[in-house]
């Protein structure tokens, strides 16, 4: 079972009871976090001292709650002696708050990741960097958005199903000496399990991407545990290590909760 979902039952239950209270007490949005922290980090100390080097960018008010662009980056280069091992992303008030865990390799060098997420209610979005020495550093952003998880999927349902599983690796050509952006995107409904089915009038069963692994010349750059907070057509944009563009085989392997595996590779 995916580590992200180990405590899903518990958090879902907590969300169920806590959220109505929270939406009334909008000025106390930290309450949910205390619970999440206890579940996922037990009594470990999480420092809020990273604002000068770890950045989470998100719109203050989301334009489309089902597609909220999130940009995470670190101003420190990953090195073998000091690197972010796990980058945990929480969206406090989402049905499944633990939204992603990026397992990062020192080989990645530059931590600069853009993705798109669903936001269900006004909430804090948090990124917690777990360093190789075990220390934890948190940054957070408040985002105003609502309805992202129950919002209807696909603007064009037929077209979306027709391209299910189609993948792209996109990158920028050019000089290979500097870090280069690469985007891996897969066409997948990433159903949250909270959207209604048109025929049965029940809920569409959750069908989401659970894991994405990205390797360069068979070396793992990052493995990402994902879930229903990720938008339809999951997209990960990141920076290739400097000097690597122009001669490498980039592979992406995506696994969804039905254990279907999708792969793509490209010489870049």
């Amino acid at each position: 079972m995916n580590t992200l979902f180990k405590n899903m039952g518990l958090t879902a239950l907590l969300s169920f009871f806590l959220l109505p209270v929270l939406s009334m007490a909008a000025d106390e949005p930290q309450e949910q976090w205390q619970t999440l922290k206890e579940i996922y980090f037990e009594n470990k100390t999480i420092l809020e001292d990273a604002d000068d080097w770890l950045v989470i960018e998100a719109p203050k008010r989301a334009e489309d709650a089902a597609i909220v662009p999130i940009h995470l980056y670190s101003k420190k280069t990953q090195t073998a002696s000091s690197y972010i091992k796990n980058l945990h992303v929480f969206i406090d008030n989402n049905p499944m708050p633990y939204s992603a865990n990026f397992h990062l390799s020192p080989a990645l060098e530059t931590v600069d990741i853009s993705t798109r997420m669903r936001v269900d209610q006004y909430t804090y979005i948090r990124a917690i960097a777990e360093m190789n020495d075990g220390s934890l550093h948190m940054v957070k952003r408040f985002v105003k958005a609502s309805g992202g998880c129950s919002a209807p999927a696909a603007k064009d349902q037929v077209a979306a199903m027709a391209r299910l599983g189609k993948m792209q690796i996109r990158y920028r050509d050019g000089d290979s000496d500097e870090a280069k952006p690469v985007q891996v995107v897969i066409s997948h409904p990433n159903n949250s399990g909270l959207q209604m089915d048109l025929k049965t009038r029940g809920y569409i069963p959750a069908h989401y991407v659970e894991k994405m692994q990205i390797t360069l010349d068979d070396k793992v750059l990052m493995t990402i545990d994902t879930g229903i907070s990720i938008s339809e057509d999951p997209s990960m944009r990141f920076m290739l290590p400097a000097g690597k563009a122009g001669h490498g085989l980039l592979k992406a392997e995506v696994t969804d909760n039905k254990k279907q595996i999708y792969t793509i590779e490209k010489h870049i």
Partner: protein, 313 residues
């Protein structure tokens, strides 16, 4: 004798009362004649809220020799009732069709007001699926936004369906209407109504006038559809939002086309340069600001939708 006077008096009172009600309704829910026998109510150019009661989309009707067709019913059961009263103010003919231009709440949530009529409900063949997929979401949102004004609202689906390749013609008596469905454009279930007699076209939300168009389908599809619509010979056009257009109707389509082709070109450049949605929302289409109402509410959302479509080109 005394009783008879009383009866007559009450009849007069009722008649006067009814007239006053109709008059009150005509003031509260005015309709304007666009072409002979074709009337529309222009929704306010705002997002739905309690003050405007969700009456933000254009609604209307077409009167034939035999019967009447309604085109879009508004954002709630109560708006549908106001529209029905406005129709009855003009004609007593039966209502034989209720035509829905697409499955957005401001256009079809008044359907329940026409349940008791003999009308057949018509829509794009993808409309029922779109309603089912979004019903619970819209119900939660709009009952919250409209509060008491949402009372009695039901999600009524069309039963006579029009597919993309097969336009249909309906007859209101000496008046033929051509109903056409389109590939995904504003939504995946758009439909237009053409009155052959006066060459008046109801576009639904394929055309927004003054209010910024909202993309909930496909930017490429919508631009292709605009080309098709501009090629029709027309005297008048009734958009989904904004005032009816007459001889210069093509200019309204030009403005919309310019908006979408401008943002499409700029988004494609950003995608090719490996930019992100945030890069696009910060820089794309700023020259269009000032040209459209509700620009700040919808522009970035349009860019987000277009971006996620265009990255699959």
């Amino acid at each position: 004798m005394k009783n008879k006077t009383k009866v007559t008096l009450s009849a007069v009172t009722i008649a006067i009362g009814t007239l006053l009600m109709l008059k009150a309704n005509a003031e509260e829910y005015p309709v304007k004649q666009v072409s002979e026998g074709i009337y529309y109510h222009q929704g306010v150019q705002e997002d739905a809220n309690r003050d405007n009661k969700g009456e933000i989309a254009n609604t209307g009707f077409i009167i034939g020799e035999k019967c009447i067709a309604v085109v879009d019913t508004g954002g709630s059961y109560l708006e549908g009732k106001s529209l029905l009263a406005a129709i009855r103010d003009k004609s007593d003919l039966p209502i034989c069709y209720v035509i829905n231009t697409h499955a957005h709440p401001d256009h079809f949530l008044g359907n329940a007001a026409f349940k008791e009529t003999e009308a057949t409900f018509i829509g794009n063949d993808k409309m029922p699926a779109a309603i089912e997929a979004r019903k619970s979401f819209y119900e939660t949102r709009f009952s919250d936004i409209l509060g008491p004004h949402f009372e009695g609202t039901e999600f009524i689906e069309p039963t006579q369906l029009v597919s993309v390749d097969n336009p249909i013609t309906i007859d209101l008596g000496e008046r033929e209407l051509v109903l056409t469905s389109y590939p995904t454009s504003h939504t995946d279930n758009d439909l237009t109504v053409l009155d052959k007699k006066t060459k008046t076209l109801w576009t639904g939300d394929l055309l927004f006038v003054k209010r910024i168009p909202a993309l909930d389908g496909s930017i490429n599809g919508w631009l292709a559809t605009i080309e098709k619509l501009k090629a029709i010979q027309l005297n008048a056009v009734i958009p989904g939002h904004g005032p009816a257009q007459y001889q210069d109707w093509q200019q309204a389509f030009d403005a919309e086309q310019h908006y979408f082709s401008t943002i499409r070109e700029q988004i494609r450049t950003i995608i090719n340069d490996m930019g992100t949605i945030s890069d696009a929302t910060q820089t794309v289409g700023l020259s269009e600001k000032g040209k459209w109402l509700l620009f700040d509410d919808y522009h970035k959302r349009n860019i987000t939708a277009a971006f996620t479509e265009l990255e699959w080109e």
